[in-house]
Subunit: 201 residues, 4 copies
């Protein structure tokens, strides 16, 4: 007779993912070890394998779920914004910063531990990541064609803006001098100003 939903098993699996995020973000994937992860969850190392396939598969799952979630919530944010290019871009930037501030662990892992993925998993993740980059590139091109932006090279500009907007989550700590809202506004302006079309000359 199968256990009921919400059973201990599901809670353990969730705790493993939570602890995985925390420890990989803290130590890096290679330096994190499953003994510590198990201890954090409160089970024996071998018991992890009732819930994960391998250490590598855990990393892949965490990254994939993050990117799935990022893509979905980005679409939601864009849908909720006015359709003109500047508003869409501002929505993208604001959502990016806020989302990244709130999911700093996931972001860290998804950006800096890709090299720890094996070839097959790396390929799968890159597709998702490129979809996200392409979304911003398309917005930049639309803004350029609408005459509202001056974008010298859309894909390169997209990379540059993403780097800037992502950077905040490498140093932000809750309770610091500036609120999340302030940081969102500051970075959004910085990004938009960098590409907004100048009045004339």
């Amino acid at each position: 007779m199968p256990r009921t939903a919400g059973s201990r098993g599901a809670r353990t699996a969730a705790a493993i993912r939570r602890a995985g995020l925390k420890l990989i973000a803290r130590h890096g994937f290679a330096a994190m070890n499953l003994r510590e992860l198990a201890a954090e969850v409160g089970i024996q190392p071998g018991s992890l394998y009732n819930h994960i396939e391998t250490k590598q598969a855990l990393l892949f799952d965490l990254i994939r779920e993050h990117l799935d979630s990022l893509l979905a919530s980005t679409e939601a944010a864009l849908s909720a914004a006015p359709p003109d290019p500047l508003a869409q871009l501002r929505a993208f930037a604001a959502h990016h910063v806020l989302y990244h501030l709130e999911k700093r662990q996931e972001v860290y892992i998804a950006n800096f531990e890709l090299r720890a993925l094996d070839a097959a998993n790396y390929g799968r993740i890159i597709i998702l990541r490129q979809a996200y980059e392409a979304r911003l590139t398309a917005l930049l091109e639309a803004g350029d064609q609408a005459g509202e932006l001056t974008v010298a090279d859309p894909p390169v500009t997209a990379f540059a803006l993403l780097a800037m907007l992502t950077g905040v989550c490498t140093w932000y700590r809750p309770g610091g001098r500036l609120s999340k809202a302030t940081l969102v506004a500051l970075h959004t302006d910085l990004a938009l100003n960098g590409i907004r079309r100048r009045a004339s000359g």
Copy 2:
């Protein structure tokens, strides 16, 4: 009897640093192993210890040398530029991008492997890094006070600009579509535009 400058020992030491940069940049510090490093150099693992103290000390040396070199060459670049705030900032940005494009391995390590440093080494490195960040922050404040820039929050803006200007070296590969000079110009403009004071209305 000490060997002459170009002795085998000195060449081995240099080869170890070169291989260290390459392998740490490729795999990350924790995932890199000294066996592979020794093989790359063409010696046995035990022989490494005639040239390095520990794996940790190798990492520290590589990062410190990089930051020393970055700080020194930044000062040289700023000295060679006109003293007005905008020109200084442009020189800083252009130098940063070019230097980072040319030292991608060092940059990668100095940015992403700080967590692998032990506490004492981390403290030493952070001082150097903060000096670099402070240099840019000071330029932003000067430009703001001179009325040429609009900088909402100098330290945060400095972080944001550094993230953007550094980002390029995570994807740049020599022989790609765009030359280094083009990338330098593109990123410099993007950064400067983000903070240049708007005409008025």
Copy 3:
């Protein structure tokens, strides 16, 4: 309330023994694991313990059942043969080869996995095995005394003949070049010729 004879439980128990024979014969006892056995049966590993005591007990049961069956069918074969020593021996050899060809998995396990038995179980099995060897030794002695055989050392000769007659099941595969009947005849002759009394000097 006990289930009826053909109940699910009894069928599961039989499937476990069948899978056990197959997997132990294929991989060896130590290399076989209960996960694979459970998968072969179509249940979860924990469920095995409704039907077996331990992995060790499963091995013991399989070997004991095989030897019980071998001893019983040997007696039946000897009873059905003429009582003279040569005929008895020929019946023993023919039965041995045929039985071994038909129960190759059981034979393999009973011959090569005895060392995996714990001390107590090993002792119980050795008694059965020695009974079988003693049966052949007795036939050899009887033949020798009757003047029909020349048996230098009955127990050693018994071991040697058993090794030869058993060996066929390490390489025999159904559908091969020779039929079971041919192999039985060939080996029986080979064994008998080895010990039949020579005409004179």
Copy 4:
């Protein structure tokens, strides 16, 4: 500067092979563990890997060396015997029994642990083993054609004789009731009698 020959390294490697033979013969390959092997040698488990590639490679090396040695010493024994078929066969059988009595551990492993070899290694070993079997098959065919033997099916007879002649090393213990020489004679006669041509009727 390399160590001199006969160094500790070579002695350790030899001790590992000796202990490997002993423990694999005693427990079986799967049930043997490298911790026990290391303890037997008097080193730490990790140190084994200065001398072996993997556990699997150790098994392969032991089996291959045994078969190489068996083939070579068989050739030497045949060369030393008179060239007529019966003498050659007798020399083969006597050599086989004696060699097997003296290398019981190697024989056990080479016969019963082939299934523990991975596919590639298994293929390499089977070639050697078939060469040995083919040598006996050829002698049987020669004896049959010379009219001195009656061999119903040379390859099957070869398998049967090898099984019989090998069987002795599964139960022989030094210091037992019968000397090696006696056992060699007994088994050689048994084998030869099984196939020697009968006078006539």
